[in-house]
Amino acid sequence: MHAGSSESHDLTRRATLRLLGLLGVVGMAGTALADAPGWPVEAFKQKTEADALKQLYGKPFEVSDKVTLEVPEIAENGAVVPVSVSTTLEGVTSISILVPENPFTLAASYKMSDATMPAIGCRLKMAKTSNVIALVEAGGKIYAASKEVKVTLGGCGG
């Protein structure tokens, strides 16, 4: 129950912030504050690769063989698709994963410190067959790799 203890108070706070945001009182910070601090709310709203990229990094990417993306060719279940991204690039500050065929393109974005090894593993949902795009931010530039993952309907899941 620890997880929900401050919920009602918090919802009030959030509602207030939303309202203030609408009124323009909080201005630019308004929408971001309504969600977890630092969470890139606009980037997660985007429905295309280009828009997500623009919101997240504001610059184009270049495809690089220094970025390694590991995904299954055929997902055993679209609800749980193991994805891992690694790179030999130096000075990595973030790694993001896009799934353009999902309702919202950006799936996850990881901020690394200078101590963090430039590799991440996660499990994502995929609504249907789609490319998966790994974006690596290093030295202020964006590098990418992409692969297609086929998502089929389960036969025994009903």
Binding site: H2, W39, A79, P103, Y110, G121, C122, K125
Partner: protein, 103 residues
């Protein structure tokens, strides 16, 4: 109540390997329940991993991250017995945190 966060952090020479599993529905807002009503979105937005006062990883997640989400990464530093603080916050403002020992 047991923690919603399970962490396996292992010191491995100069780096520490971290795997974490969080118990969370990660409802996307696109799925209907058995009565045909949309289950409202309920998903973790951020997870932070903090070691020795420094955040070594911030995960920003959308609803496309799987239920009971998993994270795997490594960082330089960290020794056996050190504490790794892991905290998540979701879109409803709920949160949980755990102080895991590096093995």
């Amino acid at each position: 109540m047991a923690s919603t966060i399970r962490v396996r952090a292992q010191a491995n020479g100069p780096t520490t390997d971290v795997q974490a599993l969080i118990q969370h529905p990660m409802d996307s807002g696109f799925v209907k329940d058995s009565d045909g009503n949309l289950v409202p979105p309920h998903y973790i937005e951020t997870v932070t991993f903090e070691h020795a006062g420094k955040i070594v990883l911030t995960s920003n997640w959308g609803p496309a991250v799987s239920k009971d989400p998993y994270t795997k990464f490594s960082f330089k530093g960290g020794a056996k017995g050190d504490v790794l603080n892991v905290t998540w916050v979701d879109n409803l403002g709920k949160t949980d945190t755990v102080a895991a020992k590096i093995a």
